[in-house]
Structure formats: structure tokens, C-alpha cells
């Protein structure tokens, strides 16, 4: 397994390099520039704009800029945001806790819904419960989060006036009040994301349980006279959840990457909104850093998923 790990890690290096080069080139070729707004300000003389472009190296050839970025990145220097002139790592660390809280909670919520519902639906296929669950799952992943988000705001903020629709990362209250305020403002975004995710997880869990439930060893277990509950929990669920674990592992980068659209709708100051604002402002260093971290996480968790797979199902060997 050690050799397998080492080989996989070595393969990861050129893929990450390739990803970063492609990202950088695409960003450099994209129209617009970080000082676009200066261009429309009549009071800013053209010389100042040119001096800024020069200072930030925007007029250098793409390859030169990329090598600059790469050498700095290898030394742990993530660069600084053109828009706020703050170091990129600082910006990301500021946003990370909020994203982890909101997107993490939504993943937990999704699993809490999907696993029991998926298993129950699969055990009694085509029952009323299964059909209702299926329908809801289809509706759930057909509705995009920007739509359900707006729907929630319309219902719970504007009509009923129960929940705030502007998210505050730092609430000045303390103690229980602090916790309550956090929960209150997180309810809508967590539910929007959680329901969406739960819908697709439910389908996976159901399919996987259906597959396992037909296997011979389950029949054997039943023949031994074990109770339905024991068979379901100890024999079916354990094995059926293996592919689901992989799926969840592959979703972890998304937890770190934030939910771009949902964060924008609820004004959540997370990584997702950082990324989208940086893209709109053509703030290359921030976009590069966030997307590169994202790429690293995807590569890493793919590896983790592969390792997990082998550990959960010994029939899969490392080669």
C-alpha cells in the first residue's frame, strides 16, 4: 500500500501543475482586468492606471507571470489580492470557518436525511413510502439551489418574517444568544443546500441497498432466522454504504470550496462568495489560490476515497 500511495502522490504532482497552468492561462486570456473600474473614473489619470498595471506585472507575458506565481506558491507565498491588497491566505482563512460551518452542517443534514430514508425506501421497494421518497428526491435535485433559496427567502423572511436573509459571520452577542443567532441565520442556507444534497444521496443509498439486499449472503442471514432489523443494519447497511462513503469523501472538497450560488444569495461571507467576487473583479491571485486549493483537495480526496474503498472492501487490492 505504501508503494501505491507514493505512486499516486507522484502522479498528482504533474496533474496539479497542469491544472494550475490551464487555470492561469484561462484567467490571463479572459477579458477584463482588476483595474477596470479605474478606467471609468475620469479623475484617475491614464498614467496611474498604467503604473498600477506595471507594478502588479499585468503587462508581462503569461508564461512569465505564471512562473512568478508558481515560484512564489512553492515557497508558500500565495500572493496578495489586487482588489484588497491583503494576502490571499489571510483572506481565505477569514472565510473558511463560515464555509465549513454552513456547508458542513448541510452535508450532515443531507446524510441524516438520506441514509435512513434511502434504506427504508430500498427495503420496501415500490411501497408508498418508497414512491413518495423517490418523488421528493426527484423534485429535490431538479430544483436548483438559487431557486429554492429565493423561495425560502420569499416565504420565511418576507412573508412570515421569521428568519433574517442577510448572514452575519460575526455576531456581537455572546453565550446562548450568539449560538441562537448563528443557528437562526444558518437555517435557510443549510436547509437549501442540505435538501439538495440529500435528494441525490437518497438515490444512491437506495440503489446501493437494493443491490446488496439481493445478494446471497443476505438471504443466508435471513435463513438463519435473524430479525429484519438485524439483517438490515448489520448485513445490508454496512456493505451498502461503502459506495456512499466514497461519494461523501469526494464531496469533501465541496465543503471547503463553499457553495458559490447559495453564499451569494444569502450574503454568506464564505469561500464561494470570495471566489465569485474575485472572478468578477478579475482578481487573479485570489481566483488562482482558491481554485488551486480546490484542485488539491479533489486530488487528495480522490486518493482518500480509493484508500477507503480498499479498506472497506478487502476484495479491492492496491496495484
Amino acid at each position: 500500500m505504501g508503494a501505491y500511495l507514493l505512486r499516486r502522490l507522484l502522479i498528482a504532482i504533474p496533474s496539479l501543475l497542469g491544472i494550475s497552468l490551464i487555470l492561469f492561462t484561462v484567467l490571463a486570456l479572459a477579458p477584463g482586468d482588476p483595474f477596470g473600474e479605474l478606467a471609468t473614473n475620469p479623475n484617475v489619470p491614464p498614467e496611474v492606471r498604467e503604473a498600477l498595471r506595471l507594478k502588479f506585472g499585468l503587462d508581462d507575458p503569461i508564461l512569465v507571470r505564471y512562473l512568478h506565481w508558481l515560484t512564489a506558491m512553492l515557497q508558500g507565498d500565495w500572493g496578495f489580492s489586487f482588489a484588497s491588497r491583503v494576502n490571499v491566505d489571510e483572506l481565505i482563512l477569514q472565510r473558511l470557518p463560515t464555509t465549513l460551518f454552513v456547508v458542513g452542517s448541510s452535508q450532515v443534514l443531507a446524510l441524516l436525511i438520506a441514509v435512513p430514508v434511502g434504506i427504508l425506501a430500498a427495503i420496501r421497494p415500490y411501497s408508498v413510502f418508497d414512491q413518495v421518497a423517490n418523488t421528493l428526491a426527484f423534485v429535490g435535485f431538479s430544483l436548483p439551489t438559487f431557486f429554492t433559496g429565493l423561495l425560502f427567502i420569499l416565504l420565511f423572511s418576507l412573508t412570515l418574517d421569521w428568519l433574517p436573509f442577510v448572514y452575519q459571520a460575526d455576531i456581537s452577542a455572546t453565550g446562548w444568544r450568539w449560538a441562537w443567532e448563528h443557528v437562526r441565520q444558518a437555517i435557510m442556507p443549510v436547509c437549501v443546500l442540505g435538501f439538495f444534497q440529500a435528494a441525490s444521496y437518497t438515490r444512491y443509498v437506495r440503489a446501493s441497498v437494493l443491490d446488496v439486499a439481493r445478494l446471497d449472503y443476505v438471504t443466508t442471514a435471513r435463513a438463519k432466522g435473524l430479525s429484519d432489523g438485524t439483517v438490515t443494519v448489520r448485513h445490508i447497511a454496512r456493505n451498502a454504504l461503502i459506495p456512499v462513503v466514497t461519494l461523501v469523501a469526494l464531496q469533501i472538497p465541496a465543503v471547503f470550496g463553499g457553495a458559490i450560488v447559495t453564499e451569494q444569495i444569502f450574503r454568506i461571507p464564505g469561500i464561494g462568495s470570495l471566489l465569485i467576487n474575485a472572478m468578477l473583479a478579475n482578481d487573479t491571485p485570489v481566483v488562482m489560490a482558491v481554485t488551486f486549493v480546490f484542485a488539491c483537495l479533489v486530488v487528495l480526496f480522490n486518493l482518500v476515497a480509493d484508500l477507503l474503498y480498499g479498506w472497506l472492501d478487502p476484495r479491492i487490492s492496491y496495484r
Binding site: 477579458p31 477584463g32 482586468d33 482588476p34 483595474f35 477596470g36 473600474e37 479605474l38 478606467a39 471609468t40 473614473n41 475620469p42 479623475n43 484617475v44 489619470p45 491614464p46 498614467e47 496611474v48 492606471r49 498604467e50 503604473a51 498600477l52 498595471r53 507594478k55 496578495f80 489580492s81 482588489a83 484588497s84 491588497r85 491583503v86 483572506l91 477569514q94 472565510r95 427567502i153 423572511s157 418576507l158 418574517d161 433574517p164 436573509f165 442577510v166 452575519q168 459571520a169 460575526d170 451569494q264 444569495i265 450574503r267 454568506i268 461571507p269 462568495s273 470570495l274 467576487n277 468578477l280 473583479a281 478579475n282
Partner: protein, 602 residues
């Protein structure tokens, strides 16, 4: 005698009477109104002629009797501040964020008058502040002002700010306001600005958004190359009404009341919060519909939606008119011909627009009234002028009309005959235009209105819309940016950020034409070349008599609008505010320029 002559003569007599006391201020304003001039213009004329304001309406409107006690003030900015050093501000949002903590010597009020903030008084000829030869200006600073860390504010800070901004290594976006002026300390509370040539418009340095003063003792070690490393870039130390407490770029900016603020009884609020993110419509909702926030900035939302939200009764929409102009430019050069590897070169002439008849017809085909009524509502006024304020610079000689039949007749008479395809042509040249603008719902609707009228008159128009981030970028390599102007017509808004047209007017002078040679950084985008306009501009730049100078800009306006520029709308700065909030602002300055004067009614 022309109407303008009469006005100028009357003015001088009347101002004299106010000065020697035989005419009261109020009756002066009344007579000016009778002459068809606006009240702000009257005030401006008096101020410029050395008749000081007896009272300050902005200060008088403030009701609270003590500072503090107003609770939190919650501002919602759909574009959040990303940095809080005013000299690095990339956009208005950053200027607004900085303005909470930093202050200039003076700000522009709603009538285009200077309002002293860190200055003890506004320099004028009478108080000896403005030199008769126009070569120098002396500012007296307000005594007893303290920085947030307790150190006194002095002339050293003012001189330092100018040096800091002018240093090319700092790459300050405000650099332009400080490069042509020498700033020297006279004593601790006096600074003298010296210009290379007579400068009638001297209120650029140290005024408004470009003029925010930063403390020398905090920034001295971080001028030039090290400017980015200053810790105070993220934790400002200013003189403003609120002290800095927290900043997360792109998300939230917080301040608390400055107990040592230099204006008595101010500020009213105990703390301030500026939250960013989201979009303009939902920001309007948070103020007008749910009341979660007190103020939402820059409502680029169709008036119809704003009216519906206003009906909830929780707040109101506020318009502050400055000089922002939505206009249509006709290309003076030919975008379809390449000369020495350059499209729309100055060496070419537009095949159709070089004929004055076509330009005149185009002007008659724009239905400004409909555009205002059906698209912009209260947020814009149809206009025939490029200078829409302050009052002395607004021409009364112009008008607009929508007369498609007359336009067709003009084209017919000029020899542009309709072909079998219904499109007019002359000497093999067809009236087929590409009309471009940025992607923005009101702009696309406006394009459609103009295209429809043009089609009826025999002009074929192809509409093109470019994403805003491309259209408004300074990217030299991208042919779709507005300064490249590789189409026949284009439409956008140009902001007038000072209460004086000198900088704004640069977009009509021939030497500013945007070309390949200056990497399309020139400001004259339509590339019109009119020696008369150039002459009027040059003369205005050196004219120290402000009444004559205003007349020169009016002349320039009249020449430009009869040429390649079709003004469409005078646009307001629109904000949504809580029903109880009194938030004085000016269209000539940042929305938060008068933050210290804000309060909530009981």
C-alpha cells in the same frame, strides 16, 4: 443682446447690491428665480463672488442635541468595500468605506458648493485664500482636530498626504490630483498650494474622495514601494465620526462612535456597520420591505420595482443628482477601415456621420422622453446637455425633440435616398450602423427604442451588447472595450465626480482622442475633432473670472451636443433608506460624505 448677456449683466449688478448690503440674500435669490435661474445657482454665484453664507443649511438641518445614543447604523452595500485606504480605492465602494474614517478638507454639497470639513474655512479671494493671479491657494485648517489615536491633526499631515499620493511608487489612484500642485506648510494650521499655471478650479487636491487626509505619523514609514505593507491599510486611523473596529474585505466593515469628534453633537449613531455582498434588488428589499437595514447604496434597480417596494411603507427611495450622464456617442472615425494597422484611426472619417445631416437626423430619432418615462422613471431625467450641473454650467440654449418625420426629411434633402431594401444610401454608402453598449436591462431596452425609430426613417441598426466587465475594462488587447469604440454608435454612463466640468469635459477635446498610440487611454472616445471646442476648453482652463468661465463651458456644451454627442439622461445616485433616517448626501460626492450629519428621527 443674447439671453446669456442679460443674465451676466444683471448678475454682476445684483451681486454688488448684496455685497454692499442694499439687497438681502433672500430677495437676491427670489430675483434670480424670476430670471429663470435656480436657487442653487444663486447661492453658487454669491459664494463665488465672495458673499459668504450667513448660515449653513446642511449643519442647521441637524436636530439631535447630543452625540451618541442613536444605536447602530446598518448600511448594506451590494458591492462591498475591499480595501480602506482612500488612495488605493479601486471603485466608489472603497471610497465610501474609507470615508467612514477619513475626511478631506472640504466636500461638495448637493448644490455644488464646497462644505468645510477639516478646513476652518473655504478659501476665497476675500479671505485671502485664493490668490488674484490664480497661481496659489491657501487653506486654513480647523484647530483642535484629533486623529483617532489622540495625536493632533496638523499641516504636516496635509503635506504628507500630497507627497504620499503624488509619489509614483505608491501607485495611488488619487495621484492625478496631486501631480500638478506644490504643497507647502506655512504654519501648523495653514498649507499653501502653488500651481504651475493660473488654475480657476483649484478645489481638486484635498477635496472630496481624492482629498481624504491620512496621518503622517502612521503612514510615514510606508510611502512609495512599501505602501502595501502599511498595517493601517486594513485598520485606518482617521479623523472621522467613527473609529475603526473591524474589517473583513468584501464582507463587513465596522466602526464605533468617535467620542472626540471635532463637530459638536455628532455623530448620532453609537456604531456603524457596512455589510457587503448580494445584489441590488435584495438590498433594496432588506431596507424597504423587511427593515433589517437602514440604508442600501447605489440602487441600480428599475424604478418600477423600487416603487413597489416603497409601497410597503418602511422606507423611501432617495435620489441625489450630480452630473452623471448617460449618452450616445457617434463615431467620428471609420471603424470598418484599417489605416496603418489601426481601426477607427484619426486619419479616417466616418462615411455617414461625417455628414452633419445624418448626425442631426440621428438626434431627432432618439425618443428621450419615452426612454425616461418607460425605462428610468425617477432615476433619470431626459436631457439635451452634457453638463447637467452645477447650475452655472448648465446651458439653457439647447433642447431635444423626437421628430422621426423631420429626420427622414433631413436625410432625404441631404441626398440619402431609400433603396429597394428600405435602407437609405448615398454614393454607394448605406446607412447601416452597429450600435453597442454594455449588458444591462435598461440599456438593451433603450437600444430597442432607438433602433425601432431609426428603422422607420430608413436606417438599419445592428444591436450589440458586451458584458460590462469587458466593455468597461482598460484591457488594451480587447477590441470590445468602450475606448476602442470599433462600432458606429455606443452608449454608456460617464460619471462627473467633481462639481466642476474641467475633467469631465476632457472627453470632447481633440488631443485626448483614444488611439492606438496612447493605448486607447485617451478620454475622447468618439474621437471628435472640433477646433472651436478645443479653443473654448483652453480658454476656460485659464479664465479666472468664474462667470465668464461658466459661459465658456456652456458654449462648449452647445458645440458638443450639436456634434457627435447625443446626451440622453441625467442620472441620479439612488439609495434606499429607512423611513426615519435623515441622510443628507450630495450627487457631487460620495454617498457617505456627510455621514457625520446623519441621524434618525425619534
Amino acid at each position: 443682446m443674447t439671453e446669456r448677456g442679460v443674465t451676466e449683466h444683471d448678475l454682476r449688478t445684483l451681486i454688488g447690491e448684496v455685497k454692499d448690503g442694499s439687497l438681502s440674500r433672500r430677495s437676491f435669490v427670489r430675483r434670480m428665480l424670476a430670471l429663470g435661474l435656480s436657487a442653487p445657482m444663486a447661492g453658487m454665484m454669491l459664494a463665488q463672488s465672495g458673499v459668504a453664507f450667513a448660515a449653513n443649511p446642511l449643519r442647521d438641518a441637524y436636530k439631535p442635541a447630543k452625540a451618541g445614543g442613536g444605536g447602530p447604523l446598518k448600511l448594506l452595500f451590494w458591492q462591498a468595500a475591499t480595501l480602506i485606504n482612500p488612495h488605493f480605492a479601486i471603485g466608489t465602494k472603497d471610497q465610501e468605506g474609507s470615508r467612514i474614517f477619513y475626511e478631506p478638507l472640504a466636500a461638495w454639497d448637493a448644490d455644488g458648493n464646497l462644505f468645510p470639513i477639516l478646513a476652518a474655512e473655504i478659501p476665497s479671494k476675500e479671505n485671502g485664500g485664493v490668490a488674484a493671479d490664480g497661481l496659489s491657494v491657501t487653506w486654513k485648517l480647523k484647530p483642535g482636530v484629533k486623529w483617532h489615536d489622540g495625536k493632533p491633526f496638523t499641516a504636516d499631515d496635509v503635506v504628507f498626504t500630497a507627497e504620499y499620493a503624488a509619489n509614483p511608487a505608491t501607485a495611488a489612484v488619487t495621484g492625478g490630483s496631486y501631480t500638478n500642485v506644490k504643497v507647502a506648510k506655512v504654519d501648523d494650521l495653514t498649507v499653501k498650494l502653488t500651481f504651475k499655471e493660473p488654475t480657476p478650479f483649484w478645489a481638486d487636491a484635498f477635496v472630496s474622495s481624492a482629498g481624504m487626509i491620512i496621518p503622517k505619523h502612521v503612514f510615514a514609514d510606508y510611502a512609495g514601494d512599501k505602501s502595501r505593507d502599511a498595517p493601517a491599510n486594513l485598520a485606518p486611523v482617521g479623523t472621522g465620526p467613527y473609529k475603526f473596529s473591524e474589517f473583513r474585505p468584501g464582507d463587513i466593515l465596522r466602526g464605533v462612535r468617535n467620542p472626540d469628534y471635532h463637530v459638536p453633537n455628532r455623530p448620532f449613531f453609537d456604531s456603524i456597520e457596512m455589510k457587503g455582498g448580494g445584489d441590488a434588488v435584495s438590498a433594496a428589499r432588506a431596507v424597504l420591505q423587511t427593515g433589517e437595514y437602514d440604508y442600501a447604496w447605489n440602487m441600480q434597480v428599475e424604478d418600477e420595482i423600487l416603487k413597489r417596494l416603497e409601497a410597503e411603507g418602511k422606507g423611501r427611495v432617495k435620489m441625489d443628482y450630480g452630473g452623471n450622464l448617460e449618452f450616445l456617442l457617434l463615431n467620428a472615425t471609420d471603424p470598418n477601415v484599417e489605416v496603418d494597422g489601426e481601426r477607427a484611426s484619426l486619419k479616417t472619417k466616418h462615411p455617414a456621420f461625417s455628414d452633419p445631416a445624418v448626425r442631426k437626423a440621428m438626434n431627432l430619432l432618439v425618443n428621450r422622453a419615452a426612454i425616461q418615462q418607460f425605462i428610468y422613471g425617477r432615476t433619470g431625467r431626459a436631457t439635451a446637455n452634457v453638463f447637467n450641473g452645477p447650475a452655472p454650467f448648465v446651458s439653457k440654449n439647447t433642447s431635444f425633440a423626437f421628430e422621426p418625420d423631420k429626420a427622414a426629411q433631413i436625410l432625404e434633402d441631404a441626398g440619402w435616398k431609400k433603396g429597394s431594401d428600405g435602407i437609405r444610401a448615398k454614393d454607394g454608402k448605406k446607412l447601416k450602423f452597429v450600435f453597442q453598449t454594455s449588458i444591462n436591462a435598461p440599456r438593451q431596452k433603450t437600444q430597442a427604442i432607438i433602433k425601432q425609430a431609426a428603422q422607420k426613417a430608413g436606417i438599419d441598426m445592428e444591436l450589440k451588447s458586451v458584458p460590462g466587465s469587458v466593455f468597461f475594462s482598460s484591457d488594451v488587447a480587447n477590441p470590445d472595450t468602450y475606448p476602442h469604440f470599433y462600432s458606429d454608435m455606443e452608449m454608456y454612463t460617464w460619471n462627473m465626480t467633481q462639481a466642476d466640468p474641467a475633467v469631465f469635459a476632457l472627453q470632447y477635446v481633440s488631443w485626448e482622442a483614444a488611439t492606438k498610440a496612447n493605448k486607447w487611454q485617451g478620454r475622447n472616445i468618439c474621437r471628435m475633432q472640433n477646433p472651436e471646442v478645443d479653443a473654448a476648453y483652453r480658454q476656460a482652463q485659464g479664465e479666472l473670472d468664474l462667470v465668464k468661465r461658466a459661459a465658456l463651458f456652456v458654449k462648449m456644451n452647445d458645440l458638443v451636443v450639436a456634434d457627435y454627442v447625443l446626451p440622453l439622461l441625467h442620472r441620479a445616485q439612488v439609495s434606499a433608506i429607512n423611513g426615519k433616517l435623515e441622510a443628507p448626501a450630495s450627487g457631487w460626492d460620495n454617498s457617505l460624505a456627510f455621514l457625520a450629519e446623519w441621524y434618525k428621527q425619534a
